[in-house]
Symmetry: C2
Subunit: 380 residues, 2 copies
């Protein structure tokens, strides 16, 4: 009885303490902490270069679309203040950049702590933690391929030097401007001080497009589909692979392949639709994708920084380590999991013959693009 009483007394003392601790933890977890602003660079922010691309009827739409998303916390979370660095490397962009800055200020975004609008690459890169590279020279009709590649090579060489010298040591870089994998490759070569693990290119747009097409086919919501893979180049040779994809039903996870009976559709129409979705958008809008591209870029960075949800992966163009037989050093889109701000390529996925051929074809295009870029480099 004495022991029982002691036990009871012990409990009486411990419970209030536990109770108070819980309350304090609860309160504490909701307190307001003012975090340091993250500096986010967006190149090609005014989109002045797009004037070289006759397909882009409205210049600068991706930059214009992504800036309010970043300022609203879509990219880095609703409690992360940001400073935006807007850069465009044409002197005439000054006024347009300033106009965008005025609008960003006018919107009175609570998270936006500052805006730098500049055509000086050194000022633009200063201490940035995230760099979203939208600036580039897409190939316009009638433009020589060499001309296009030379322009990109020299632009990305200059920007790599500035980033390597002035950005934060752990700056995360996302290249979106086409040819994005090869632009990222040039950036990697000329910014050796930035870890190659921190240089990526965007294939999340293709990834999201593939999710949406499968969701439409299965009559489910896109957020119920996961683990699609985009392999390779962010060009029309990329390969959207659904062999490992699943979707959520009331009865749990199901393999997409087991529910889309039409293998022919998956191997032909589905792949073509995803590969040529960009052109279909241009045909309908008379302007290239901006809203969906900007949204995908936010998804890419957010998952990279905060991690992919448990049991899922996403597609990112990253430096190959030789996984799945892809030439090491190439910037190639793989399935990746992210954790603690780092990505790692998902290993051990079974690759069938059909996939192998598609993966090799897009790798081949990338190898050829890389060697072409190098030849343009040597001429400079």
């Amino acid at each position: 009885m004495e022991y029982l009483e002691l036990l009871l007394k012990g409990l009486v003392v411990l419970f209030p303490i536990a109770f108070c601790c819980m309350l304090i933890t609860y309160k504490w977890s909701f307190r307001k902490i003012e975090k340091e602003p993250t500096k986010v660079l967006v190149t090609g922010a005014a989109g002045m270069l797009a004037q070289y691309d006759i397909l882009l009827a409205f210049p600068g739409q991706i930059g214009y679309a992504i800036l309010p998303m970043i300022a609203r916390g879509v990219m880095l979370g609703p409690d992360q203040p940001v400073t935006l660095h807007l850069f465009d490397n044409i002197k005439q962009a000054d006024e347009a950049l300033n106009g965008i800055k005025m609008e960003l200020i006018d919107a009175a975004f609570p998270l936006l702590k500052g805006v730098i609008a500049t055509t000086d690459i050194v000022e633009a890169c200063k201490d940035v933690n995230i760099a979203v590279m939208l600036g580039g020279f897409p190939r316009k009709e009638g433009m020589e391929r060499t001309d296009m590649m030379s322009k990109n090579v020299s632009m990305y060489m200059a920007q790599a030097l500035a980033l390597g010298k002035h950005a934060a040591a752990d700056c995360k870089v996302l290249v979106f401007a086409k040819p994005s994998n090869t632009n990222a490759l040039i950036l990697k070569e000329f910014a050796p001080s930035i870890s190659e693990k921190n240089i990526t290119c965007l294939t999340r747009l293709d990834h999201n497009r593939a999710l949406s097409q499968i969701a439409k086919r299965l009559k489910v919501h896109a957020s119920d589909v996961k683990n699609i893979i985009i392999w390779g180049n962010h060009s029309s040779t990329h390969y959207p692979d659904v062999n490992h994809a699943t979707f959520t039903t009331k009865d749990g996870e199901r393999l997409v392949r087991e529910h889309v009976a039409d293998d022919h559709w998956l191997k032909t129409e589905f792949i073509k639709t995803v590969q040529h979705r960009g052109l279909a958008i241009i045909k309908a809008r008379k302007a290239s994708s901006a809203l969906s591209a900007a949204s995908a870029a936010c998804d890419h960075i957010r998952d990279w920084v905060f991690g992919t949800p448990k049991g899922t992966w996403v597609s990112m163009g990253v430096c190959s380590d030789g996984s799945y037989g892809i030439e090491p050093g190439l910037i190639y889109s793989f399935p990746v999991r992210c954790e603690n701000g780092k990505w790692s390529i998902v290993q051990g996925l079974k690759i069938d013959e059909f996939s192998r051929a598609k993966m090799d074809a897009t790798a081949k295009e990338l190898i050829e693009e890389a060697s072409f870029a190098k030849s343009c480099l040597n001429e400079q």
Copy 2:
């Protein structure tokens, strides 16, 4: 001693129960509930009408800017699913609307449960809970004022009839297309089934611009400034009033007027900068404000639905009840507080002579605009 033991035992029994209850409540408050999607109509979504306005170099930018914001939860919160109804009333807009729909689907927004893209006003208005009216005929250079007003009158008459008949009974309407106050007035006249309390026009953009200008002057962040007022018409006659505005310092709230010593600046340059900010943006961007306008429209609806923070008000164009001597029935921008999805005009603010004159001047413009709209109506 017996009593003490009883008390101890009682506590031992009660604490675990309390503990479990807390845990359950905590878990429960974080459980996932799938809410019903809110149906949001956006008119002028493809912006085809903007072709009539030579100032708008890039058509449809506000629609294009606001759609991803709504789909990301900026307007209605991060846990509120939405269905988007995109409408444009030019048949040729079909393809462009479809292009935007494709992009919205491609972005795989988790909250976006459906997209309807249509040029049929009845289908567009069906059961909508929120209507954002971007479609309108701005006056282009060389256009007759009567021509501009007649086009708007007949458009808003038709849309009012459709909204009145097909929208949800408690549909909240926000008119943004210029002349926005008068367009809202026409809508109110021809949609008697929609409560006049549910018809508003946007002056939040002017409000946010005024906040930012004061913040810049005081070297504080825009979110630290509050209780500015935009009085009157969403035109260059609106009056940004800082007489009751405060800003947050380390030592508490301070009156803006007491810290901006330069009364002349407040009465001249400040007012002019806010009134003509739209033109300054057009001059810099070669396109009218879209990003900041879309963001302000989200702010307007969000505060209306979820309430203004305690102790603060915002500016909204609402139906005058005669407050501050403004002609009842006019759609006029007032300081409003929102609670439980309803706005109410802030009462009892002291109005000095300078303010009175400015408030009356913008009211006079609105009265004249309303009577002009009615004359256009009679001719139809």
